[in-house]
Point group: C2
Chain length 324, copies 2
């Protein structure tokens, strides 16, 4: 930067300003600086800038795993929205382990990220207060909480499970079952499903909870196990569309009609829900919208604006197709 300043015949600060706030610099000066930058091939050192300004322009984002398709859309939209606002996303994977989440938060804090995005609302003991005392914006996603750490963009997994169950009963099912991942957000869905089942006089909902990472090839065996245990099951709600697609393949393998013999319902409304045969009924969640709103909320907060409502319920929608 010293070289650029010399070449442009100005001082260090002027170069800094020409780069970071061009409108505070006279047009002629700006042109001179830019010429010097181009000629010398100068590349600013953002690390030095971060240290001096105590703003890193990095947002730390923690997800269970990036292979989880439903969450990928959120990360993609978040990255795009924050990127347009001049921020870079630093991603880390918790592998669904709260302790890893807490450890990675420390790493992010040590890197002086400007904000942190978390997946879900269930965290390791102490993380909540640790984050609140850190002084940076924190945003939770993909669930609802009565006590958000700070900002929150999500929807109620409990209510989504309830709505899915109601849909299944409305379609004539008598005995729904659940296949999901063994983690908090799936548990909330299952609780919702159990609540609606209780209202219909069904005291218990059989469930298969898969140790994460749950993937499509787990669905078949789990559905088989479920049906071996409880042959009266006539509907299965899966915590994501990928598992539901696996269930569809399993039904096809057995030559079972869907929804004739068994109804299958997914979650997320991923492309696979529309591509399947039969097309999957599902709970639509706009994952991209979550990422976008999250990015907007963070940008506003990072720009110093206090938002009216720090909690955004993005909602969900039951989509009926052919599988129920």
């Amino acid at each position: 930067m010293t070289d650029v300043a010399a070449a442009a015949g100005v001082s260090l600060v002027t170069v800094s300003r020409a780069i970071n706030s061009p409108d505070q610099v006279a047009p002629a000066t700006l042109a001179a600086v830019r010429a010097a930058v181009g000629q010398l091939g100068y590349l600013p050192n953002l690390t030095a800038g971060s240290l001096a300004s105590s703003r890193s322009r990095i947002v730390g984002c923690l997800v269970p795993t990036i292979s989880h398709t439903v969450i990928a859309e959120t990360v993609e939209a978040l990255t795009r929205t924050l990127g347009d606002g001049g921020y870079q996303v630093m991603l880390a994977q918790t592998q669904h382990r709260p302790d890893d989440e807490a450890r990675l938060v420390e790493t992010f804090l040590a890197r002086r990220v400007d904000a942190i995005v978390l997946t879900g609302v269930n965290h390791a003991v102490g993380l909540r207060s640790r984050l609140q005392s850190s002084g940076i914006p924190v945003l939770e996603t993909w669930d609802m909480s009565s006590q958000p750490i700070d900002l929150l963009v999500g929807f109620s997994n409990h209510d989504a499970g309830f709505a899915a169950g109601r849909h299944l009963f409305d379609r004539g099912c008598r005995m729904p079952a659940y296949i999901g991942s063994d983690e908090a957000r799936s548990h909330h869905q299952l609780q919702g499903l159990r609540a609606v089942a209780a209202q219909h006089g069904v005291p218990d909902v059989p469930a298969e909870l898969i140790l994460p990472p749950a993937n499509i090839e787990d669905a078949g065996p789990r559905l088989a196990a479920l049906l071996a245990r409880r042959p009266e099951v006539d509907a299965v709600f899966c915590s994501n569309d990928t598992l539901a697609a696996g269930a569809l393949f399993e039904c096809r393998r057995r030559g079972w009609e869907v929804p004739g013999r068994i109804a299958v319902m997914g979650f997320g409304d991923l492309p696979i829900a529309r591509a399947g045969f039969p097309r999957l009924s599902t709970v639509q969640v706009r994952g991209g919208r979550i990422g976008e709103r999250a990015g907007q909320l963070l940008l506003a907060r990072l720009a110093g604006q206090q938002q009216a409502d720090p909690v955004v319920d993005i909602g969900f929608e039951v989509v009926q197709r052919e599988s129920t």
Copy 2:
């Protein structure tokens, strides 16, 4: 850090060493420093450390999009391997746009990342020399090149396409087709497929190239278009298992037997290949292994070791299941 030094009764440097190279510090001193750190809740500022040491311990990683399942495994393994070595991965998405890739590389360089990982071997003009003159390790993945920028861990997409085609002809197919993404790695696969077709006296391989991002719901319509144009097609090779699963659903919708009426072959050997019905024949690529080897190569290089062979061909394997 000054406070910790005071509390422990040592100097600044000693605290720094206790944290970064504990074995260079006397056990008693180390204990005192650690006690002070714990008591004060001291969290090192990695940004300041990076500036002083000119090592950020960040590796920049560029992928087309993180929603691309086949690449997610690589990123996951890379993140894990580098994480164990004390490095953090900073991820960015190019959306398959070479210009975005070049722009993001500049951002990474400005952040002084210690190394850069790229997807594929086709880049914007000038990026190659820009990276070579940057002086940091660069690693390309998911393809082969006769002129790698620096390090490379991948496999030949051309040869994979050739092998898939040979498998189809071996299984009795006469007229293969291709459905893939409209980007370099798919193009290489298609070239391989065309090469083997030519050897079998098939002068042309009909293809549908989907503007990225290609997803599962594109497969059905594209397969339909392909067959409308060329009803004699009796096999389709898809650039990934997800598209192949979409093709399977489309066949099911039409009541077509697979592979009786048409053979379907995927690429990647994702879980969906094993979960489908019929189970998908595919080209197995160990995406996780690519990420792992890439991480190891980078760690070695970053530790100052010169490796014998900077290019690793991870290979691939044709897996026959039920769909061909």
